[in-house]
């Protein structure tokens, strides 16, 4: 038990990630309001992006551009660019998803006059 606590305290980034992820899932599942469900989804996606950033963090590292004439490259001095590239792309995907989902939600609101899932399901029957 103590060991588990110790590993958790040593990795605050990942604890935050897990909390955000589960919180997002909870909001998605529990709230009947469609916009709140979207917010939940957004938190889940953001938490995954946070995870990508968290594991690529490096103390004292700089931008990964090697100066001309540097003979030996010490990889500890440079941040890994790949997770950051993934993060940028994932953010773009997230924004596109948000756009499509908001368009759908507004179309649902115009059609059904409500954003409450229970009321909409009632009308679908």
């Amino acid at each position: 038990m103590f060991e588990l606590l110790e590993t958790l305290i040593q990795r605050p980034n990942f604890v935050v990630f897990v909390i955000l992820f589960l919180w997002g899932i909870y909001i998605m599942a529990a709230h009947p309001n469609l916009v709140k469900k979207l917010i939940g989804l957004y938190i889940v996606q953001t938490s995954v992006i946070f995870f990508l950033v968290a594991f690529s963090a490096k103390d004292g590292a700089t931008v990964p551009i090697i100066q001309a004439g540097a003979a030996l490259v010490d990889s500890m001095l440079y941040a890994n660019p790949l997770p950051h590239a993934l993060t940028v792309t994932a953010i773009v995907v997230q924004i596109a998803t948000l756009g499509v989902s908001l368009a759908l939600v507004s179309a649902i609101y115009r059609k059904f006059g409500s954003l409450d899932e229970d009321e909409i399901l009632e009308q679908l029957k």
Binding site: L38, L52, A96, T97, L104, A107, F112
Partner: protein
């Protein structure tokens, strides 16, 4: 030129999709023709691509001249080439069908055709991608256009499209999470490179967790039971003109992405904390195949019935590819190709029934058989293929999955394939008993159906039989491609 074919296959629909508003603002009636023409060009290109690959063997396409694992690579092997060919074929046929059975407000809608073209370009991207992150991006391209297309019918479909979006995006997040785990453990995202580094890391929880997240994410996308709940409602309410293409490609291509990952990362016999991974996947497939078949049997709405039929076939394919031997893998891949064609055919028939007869449920089908000989013929061919009787391709796929199961001595899997076949037979009997039932009204003359429908139904039925007749050749090079080391 010939080495650029994969990229051309991606760029042709993508560029046409993006430039669609420029080309057609003044002449809206050109939209369907341009879309059809683009798919025609894709079909020719994919035939050329298959010929090149069969002649020269697998080609790795490195973007910008940066070879993998540093650069981004696409793998153009015979398996990808044939799946792209089938998807182009299905796209052409469903587009011909979509010209008749299309809602008035979508007929001249530029965004609708743009979405179709971009979705197909995303599908091509998933198939060729040899890099986990590339697969993620293209999965999202396909998924986002898919949500919009499902919602294009308005009304009920909006709610189902929203549900599909919530689940699908959640699946994508899981996939991204798994990909992050694998990157942390191995430091690479290229599949060939991962395949080298993963076997010794199989005991790491990061690798096992990453694979589980990737599988969960993709199984939402491929509608594997019990994560299938978005599919039947979405496909039953989506516009009839696009459902055949959606049903035949989206889930199948997500499964294809998983097969590539599974084949390169999970070696046969690998165990994670005493659980044999492939056997576990196979059992999940067994459950999906049986429950999907049983759920299809209790449906009364025709489109929902076919949707559950597709879900059960996803399970069958997963059984085949998880047996851990070449026969099963080739059988599963062959069945995947067939299933794409069969689903397109079934949803075209269901759409045409709504269009010509207003028939949504089994009850409405009474007497349809006497009025629509073309639909009857197409349904009989599709039923024979779905149940899996020779000479259609469905038979040879199932046959090899069963042979693979017997070879691996997994008798329960072989039994499950047979049982799901029986369930398929049962729900088609249900359809046929209504179809040929004595009509309630006096039988009218056969309905006049348009030539476009005749063409699309005829072409799809012929391709189902042709896949069966050519099964030997296709198997030969599927097995060759597998034994040469690249799925």
């Amino acid at each position: 030129m010939s080495s650029n074919l994969p990229v051309l296959l991606f760029l042709v629909p993508f560029v046409m999709g993006v430039s669609m508003p420029l080309l057609t603002t003044k002449r809206r009636s050109w939209c369907p023709n341009i879309t059809l023409g683009t798919f025609g060009v894709m079909l020719l290109l994919s035939i050329a691509n298959l010929r090149v690959v069969l002649a020269d063997g697998p080609i790795e396409y490195a973007f910008g001249g940066w070879a993998a694992p540093i650069g981004i690579a696409w793998l153009n092997d015979s398996l990808a080439a044939i799946v792209v060919l089938i998807i182009s074929l299905v796209a052409v046929i469903t587009q011909v069908y979509g010209r008749i059975d299309i809602a008035k407000d979508l007929q001249k809608s530029i965004p609708y055709y743009t979405l179709i073209l971009i979705m197909v370009s995303g599908l091509v991207g998933i198939i060729f991608a040899a890099d986990l992150f590339n697969v993620f991006v293209f999965l999202e391209v396909v998924a986002l256009t898919g949500y919009a297309l499902v919602g294009a019918a308005g009304g009920k479909s909006l709610v189902y499209a929203f549900r599909y979006l919530l689940l699908g995006s959640f699946g994508a997040s899981l996939y991204l999470l798994g990909l992050g785990h694998l990157y942390v453990a191995t430091g690479t995202l290229n599949m060939a490179d991962l395949a080298v580094r993963i076997p010794e890391l199989m005991t790491s929880t990061a690798v096992a967790g990453g694979l589980i997240y990737i599988f969960l994410g993709l199984s939402i996308k491929m509608a594997l039971i019990p994560l299938h709940s978005w599919l039947p409602d979405a496909y039953a309410s989506a516009p009839s003109s696009i459902t055949p293409l959606l049903a035949s490609t989206v889930t199948k291509v997500s499964l294809f992405a998983w097969i590539r990952i599974e084949y390169s990362l999970v070696a046969p016999g690998v165990e994670v904390s005493h659980v044999p991974v492939l056997v576990l996947l196979e059992e999940i497939g067994v459950i999906a195949a049986l429950i999907g078949g049983a759920l299809a049997l209790i449906q009364t709405n025709l489109k929902r019935m076919f949707a559950y039929g597709g879900i059960s076939h996803i399970g069958l394919i997963l059984i085949g590819v998880s047996l851990g031997n070449t026969t099963g893998l080739a059988g599963g891949m062959f069945y995947l190709i067939n299933d794409a064609v069969m689903q397109a055919s079934l949803f075209m028939i269901a759409g045409a029934l709504v269009y010509y007869h207003g028939a949504h449920t089994l009850e409405d089908l009474r007497g349809v058989g006497r009025q629509s000989p073309w639909l009857t013929g197409a349904l009989i061919v599709a039923a024979v293929a779905m149940v899996g009787l020779p000479p259609t391709g469905g038979f040879f796929g199932k046959w090899n999955i069963i042979l693979g199961a017997l070879e691996a001595q997994h008798y329960f899997a072989a039994f499950a394939v047979l049982a799901s076949t029986l369930l398929t037979l049962a729900y088609f009997l249900k359809i046929f008993s209504c179809w040929f039932h004595h009509p309630q009204h006096a039988p009218s003359d056969p309905l006049k159906v348009s030539n476009a429908l005749r063409f699309s139904l005829g072409a799809i039925s012929i391709s189902m039989i042709a896949l069966g007749l050519m099964s030997d050749t296709i198997f030969q090079f599927l097995i060759e491609s597998i034994t040469n080391g690249g799925v």
